[in-house]
């Protein structure tokens, strides 16, 4: 069993304090499915194995493809939940600008609607989103750039986000990280 990580695309649909008394025991409302949609009938996840450094590297690698500084909200879960949902996991290379992170990439593949619903139910009942605020995300990207994990030119940040990133990078290179 391994520990997997997935960044949520639409975390605002995760269950909050709305009245869910109508939801039968062991089921979840439909809205969270929009946080967990498949792409090409698969789900990209990263094997992080309870390693905080890996989690940070994955956040930086994925957030480097964003246009602006923003929160990253992600799930950490055991691969046993995927097995329980009856879905195969395949090792496939990731598409991030961090080559090492790409090696940790897995596809939860052959996702059908019913498999997705089963997995989503297990995740909502067993996990909670964890946050990495935008400022910290920028720091993590800066760290990956300075460490040589991500080429600076492959970070898509623009405008004020880019300026913040460049300040962070400069501070790290001068030996004075915030």
């Amino acid at each position: 069993m391994t520990t997997l990580m997935r960044i949520l695309r639409k975390p605002s649909r995760w269950p909050g304090d709305e009245d869910l008394s109508w939801v039968p025991t062991g089921e979840i409302p439909a809205d969270p499915l929009s946080c967990l949609l498949a792409d090409n009938n698969a789900w990209s996840v990263y094997q992080v194995d309870d390693n905080r450094e890996r989690v940070n590297r994955v956040i930086a690698a994925l957030a480097a493809g964003r246009e602006t500084e923003a929160i990253a909200e992600y799930l950490i879960f055991d691969s046993a939940l995927v097995d329980q949902a009856g879905i195969p996991i395949e090792t496939t290379p990731g598409q991030t600008p961090d080559n090492e992170v790409n090696l940790w990439h897995l596809d939860i593949s052959h996702m059908t609607a019913s498999r997705l619903a089963r997995l989503a139910t297990l995740l909502v009942l067993n996990c909670e989103p964890k946050p990495c605020l935008g400022k910290e995300v920028t720091r993590l990207i800066a760290n990956s750039v300075v460490q040589g994990y991500i080429p600076a030119e492959r970070v898509r940040y623009g405008g004020t986000s880019r300026t913040k990133l460049e300040i962070e990078i400069a501070q790290r290179r001068s030996g004075n990280p915030n």
Binding site: G16, D17, E69, E136
Partner: protein, 284 residues
């Protein structure tokens, strides 16, 4: 929200009628502007008015009783302005009398009575009314901003938001705040509080309020985001926390601590904890 043409002298000092979905907001707005509320019973207003209908805090009742369509059916001669927003925006742009007349000429003409005088055109009537009740114009401006804020949120329903990518809504919110300043911020947050359906829209607006780079509105944005921490919906509190994380202002740390102590939804609480760590890393 809809604006109606001027009232008759039956209601001196009032020239415009605004129908809104939130009577409480109107009452609050009038109170801020120092204007008295007119406590007319709805039924008698409808019976006595001469084709034009008076704003009153009883609009909640009125709204249930008479729609714009029904008002028009009762009084076919009534003339309706396109909207308060269009009127105010055009009025602000109209620096010369010529432009002003050109604006109103698009509406059907009619004999309109304002404070005892009858005018042959809406433009004359509105100008006369505005001169006499300028403060009400400010109120209508505020109401128009609130209506615009609501329409921004409404138009964004169904937009596909993705974290870390600029949305059409966030661009509109930025422009709205840039043009209208603190009142726009208040209007947006009021619209967010009233918006009960789309959590993505709510979070996008609150996040954008934190991201705007403008010292002019920073205090109001901070106050509005802090006030949103008290909302009874987790997604609004989450959005406010994310907005505050972009604002990155350590003066709100006590408010964030209060959320940490009170928050029942653990994944929202974890955002508050992360924000507290961001704002006071050296105190940990």
């Amino acid at each position: 929200m809809t604006a109606y043409a001027p009232t008759s002298e039956t209601y001196p000092g009032v020239w415009g009628i605004v129908e809104v979905d939130e009577p409480d907001v109107v009452q609050e707005t009038l109170a801020v502007a120092g204007l008295p509320l007119i406590q007319e019973p709805v039924a008698s207003t409808v019976d006595q008015a001469q084709g034009y209908y008076l704003y009153s805090p009883n609009l909640g009742v009125w709204r249930h009783g008479l729609s714009k369509h029904e008002l028009t059916a009762r009084q076919p001669a009534a003339t309706f302005l396109p909207s308060v927003h269009n009127f105010v925006v055009n009025l602000e742009r109209s620096k010369s009398q010529h432009q002003h007349r050109q604006l109103v000429r698009t509406n059907a003409p009619g004999n309109i009575t304002v404070l005892g005088k009858t005018y042959a055109s809406q433009s004359d009537a509105l100008r006369a009314a505005l001169i006499q009740t300028r403060s009400l114009g400010n109120v209508i401006r505020i109401l128009a901003l609130r209506a615009t804020a609501s329409s921004l949120l409404e138009a964004a329903r169904g937009e596909d938001f993705e974290t870390g990518f600029r949305s059409r809504l966030s661009a509109k919110v930025e422009r709205f705040v840039a043009h209208h300043g603190e009142q726009a911020v208040k209007s947006l947050v009021a619209a967010v509080v009233a918006n009960s359906s789309d959590p993505d829209v709510v979070v996008e607006v609150l996040t954008t309020l934190g991201q705007i780079v403008s010292p002019d509105t920073k205090q109001q944005r901070r106050q509005s985001l802090v006030a949103s921490l008290n909302d009874n919906r987790a997604q609004v509190r989450r959005g406010a926390l994310i907005g505050l994380s972009h604002l990155d202002d350590s003066s709100v740390i006590a408010d964030v601590k209060r959320v940490i102590d009170a928050e029942k939804i653990r994944w929202v609480k974890s955002i508050a904890i992360a924000l507290w760590e961001q704002l006071a890393p050296k105190n940990v």
